[in-house]
Symmetry: D2
Subunit: 138 residues, 4 copies
């Protein structure tokens, strides 16, 4: 992993405001904050590609009082077993469960899995976030 | 849990397009799809409140080749142990790890934990998603 | 324009919360609020299509102290004259201008115009929003 | 306006990917692309503040076949005349109008105007984007 160093110029006042935002967000350094902005823009692009392998996490909140719901969610995950890497389940309270499903594949396929899971009757809230395999971010 | 039934009117062509979107997204029914839109708008509002307890999941991708990084992430989670409910770790490949951290608390506090974790040197990509305890969604 | 009326069922408590959100947002009626959620999901889909004609508005903030900047922005808009419908210019203060550019075409082409304009040296802030021709929303 | 120059370090491969993204988006230079990322993060923060004056543009698409709709939208804008800077109207086709309303004020107040306008019966699609007065971005 070879590192390149380069200079950027910024209006002084803007830099001061950015430095204060960085402190608020607890960044280790200015470089690290800018690297995060750069990597985030690359992940956005990664998700617009139709071929690159990428990673998404799907968060689902549902009531475990609904019959067969967790079986149904399980079935869907099994149908996509080649994409679904892992699932974590949390008991939020006596009734509500949260499940996080990590999926690896092409953006399009990850979105299909997410649509299936979020669309399942009884799921109260579901959301997909686009992250990355990390491979192309170094 | 008492159910209310009410009518809504929609232009015929619009309804046809919505029905085709629903099929594409595998919703069980039109009611279920509309309930999802409604619940999603309520979760958005929940996150604008400064007092309501809510839930977020933070996804982090980082290289496990970086010394002490996973210790650092661990330390931060311990500092916020009253908020952090659970963490799942996945080995994406020989170098890259994905971690999902589920956090419960006020939106503002969840954002602080996310900022701390995402800002940690070595984290390649991090994202917070806003979900819900599910309590107020029934 | 023919109207279809159909029923949806919702947990009573959820409906109460939605009704209070609707009041806060000044919606004329529950039907109108739900129609907005439905239309918004259709616009999102419209922007994922590669062929449908759609509309975007690009907002730019820039300093008019920078030489030739407004000429450059103008040139770009002329290159895309078949897409650019109209532009509004506002003098925010002695130095800052805001320009809103309305663009009609395929999502992909609208994004290209937006990238060109936002990437122009001297533009302080730029953002594209995805809206619609309205044709397919009735 | 004084300029500060500073260095940042980035993995070589990451920089190459960023450079290719920059070319795709037609940025004048790497510095300019990074400044845009920085300014965008500052605008996001500006909108989380409850006191800073900022700017938003609201895009509305509606049918001009609906009686009194444009009068209603006009009335709302007049009620907020101290915030509404300017409005542009475009005839998208024989039936559909697009209106862009530029609003200056505190984020909270801009959101109120947007909620009122978007919630008006007959508005097919409406969206607010958060931009800036530009004053604090130099």
């Amino acid at each position: 992993m070879s590192i390149t160093r380069f200079g950027i110029s910024l209006e002084h006042r803007l830099l001061k405001r950015f430095d204060s935002l960085i402190r608020k967000k607890d960044y280790a350094s200015r470089s690290e904050a800018i690297r995060d902005l750069i990597r985030d823009s690359l992940v956005t692009e990664e998700w617009e590609s139709s071929t690159t392998e990428t990673v998404g996490t799907i968060t689902l909140v549902y009531s475990h009082d609904i019959r067969e719901l967790s079986d149904n969610l399980n079935d869907i995950q099994h149908q996509y077993h080649q994409l679904v890497k892992s699932t974590m389940h949390i008991h939020l309270d006596g009734h509500n469960c949260l499940e996080v499903v990590v999926v690896k594949g092409r953006a399009k396929d990850i979105k299909s899995v997410a649509d299936r899971l979020i669309g399942t009757k009884g799921v109260k809230h579901g959301k997909l976030i686009a992250t990355t395999t990390g491979k192309r971010l170094k």
